[in-house]
């Protein structure tokens, strides 16, 4: 929910509180219908992405955390926890009720530490989100979380296109304190508007064409950390937190967008502090 909406709803709710209780809950009673609708939609999406492969529920291989009610639908923080790191080959994030539900896929390499992965996404409707991991033995497991937010895909960036495109492809990377022989937590920030193609320029009434990072590869030396396939559901100015196993060689980042933009950066690997 965007701040303005919070204000608008706040006004209404306080007004309702003055005049008495909410209406009878009959309109909230269709929970079973809604649940069925959501389950059916997930089946359709899963089939489209994973074909006929079986996806089993899990509460240990992947956990999906998101705010139950997002402050800003265009910037919803997601945390994927995958503690059994040697078993994880890839993870997909699906935002069921976004018009383009398949938000991101990460394929991990030998330099990855999958225990925690964070990113920020756009959420268009109150929705189930799914994280699906593929284990090294080729099986699929899913975790689910419901998120309340809406309008994130079409929310304008609040600046001109020109301004939003300034410095596109600039990157920064931060590392948490490194300890010898331990994985390091890294934060990669990329300047890029990640235009969804659903955002209207309010003055010209034109839609800004989609321009988003669709491929992102991070390596430690010549060992891959991950390759991300991205989509319009990833928030503007992507920020990704991930774990990596450094070996002293530079951390390489290569990003590309759907309009042919390509950027590479090299960062000095973190060195143990003691």
């Amino acid at each position: 929910m965007r701040p303005t909406l919070a204000l608008a709803l706040g006004l209404t709710l306080s007004a309702a509180a003055l005049s008495g209780p909410f209406a009878p809950a009959v309109h909230a009673a269709g929970a079973s219908d809604t649940e069925q609708e959501r389950a059916a939609r997930w089946q359709e999406i899963a089939k489209s992405i994973f074909g006929d492969r079986t996806i089993e529920p899990t509460d240990s291989l992947v956990k999906l955390e998101a705010p139950k009610r997002a402050e800003d639908a265009a910037l919803v923080p997601i945390t994927l926890t995958m503690p059994e790191k040697d078993k994880i080959k890839a993870v997909s994030l699906i935002i069921d009720d976004n018009p383009a539900p398949y938000a991101a896929n990460f394929e991990f390499g030998p330099a990855a530490d999958t225990s925690e992965l964070k990113l920020r996404v756009r959420v268009n409707n109150y929705t189930d989100m799914h994280a699906v991991v593929e284990t090294t033995d080729g099986k699929l497991y899913e975790a689910k979380q419901f998120v309340k937010a809406s309008g994130g895909c079409s929310a304008p960036m609040g600046m001109s296109e020109e301004e939003a495109l300034k410095g596109m492809g600039d990157m920064r990377m931060k590392f948490a304190d490194a300890q010898p022989g331990k994985p390091v937590e890294a934060t990669l920030m990329i300047r890029h508007p990640n235009f969804s193609g659903m955002q209207m320029n309010q003055v010209t009434r034109d839609y800004t064409p989609a321009r988003y990072i669709d491929k992102l590869t991070v390596s430690a030396g010549d060992r891959k950390v991950f390759t991300m396939t991205g989509d319009i559901s990833i928030a503007s100015n992507p920020v990704i937190n991930f774990g990596l196993k450094p070996d002293g060689k530079p951390i390489q980042v290569a990003a590309g967008d759907n309009q042919g933009g390509a950027w590479t950066h090299s960062f000095t690997a973190p060195s143990p502090t003691n």
Binding site: A16, V26, N125, G151, C153, Q202, N258
Partner: protein, 194 residues
């Protein structure tokens, strides 16, 4: 319904009305004067607290109407999700439109300008849905901070409907307290779409 907040907003609106040119997007939710005509400015933005000739309602009032003896016709004029023109082929595109379960969805019927044949069809559809009864309660809505439903309500008031209700918080205000249902576009409206 909205006692205190509307009063507060009313005072601010009166103060701000003088310095806000018509058709300019408002920069704050508390100083949006009601336009005299249909609003042709940016479709997304702060909306006024009033619609002359119509009643402004919140989610509780809509729910109460639905539970009452004379169920309103609910008209949702929210725009369709627009598929980006350069969206990759073969990539999953599955837009949904959650709304108030009983509503009829006439996407963009609040657009200004609206082609004459679309405007005529809008009136035809509302006439059919109300059984030709201009006193039938109607609730128009789209999304929060969307002018479409204000314009659609304005059109109906001007057409002589006497029980028009405008629900400015729209789908967002409804789903905050109630279940939604994914709607398909009204068949007649879709069939005649340009």
């Amino acid at each position: 319904m909205a006692g205190r907040s509307i009063l507060r907003r009313g005072a601010a609106v009166a103060a701000a009305a003088l310095c806000l040119a018509a058709g300019e997007p408002a920069d704050s939710p508390v100083n949006v004067p009601e336009p005299a005509e249909l609003y042709a400015g940016p479709p997304h933005g702060y909306t006024p607290p009033t619609l002359k000739g119509a009643q402004v309602v919140d989610a509780a009032a809509v729910a109460a109407m639905l539970d009452g003896p004379d169920k309103p016709v609910l008209i949702d004029v929210a725009a369709r999700e627009r598929k980006p023109s350069n969206f990759p082929e073969g990539r999953l595109w599955l837009p949904v439109h959650p709304s108030i379960p009983e509503a009829v969805w006439l996407p963009n019927a609040g657009a200004v300008p609206l082609p004459p044949e679309r405007e005529a069809l809008f009136y035809d559809r509302v006439a059919a849905l109300t059984g030709g009864n201009r006193a039938k309660p109607i609730v128009v809505f789209c999304h929060v901070e969307c002018w479409g439903s204000w314009n659609a309500g304005k059109r109906l008031v001007e057409k002589g409907y006497t029980a028009v209700h405008w629900f400015p918080l729209g789908v967002e205000g409804w789903q905050d307290v109630h279940e939604t249902r994914n709607l398909s576009e009204d068949a007649a409206w879709k069939a005649a779409a340009p």
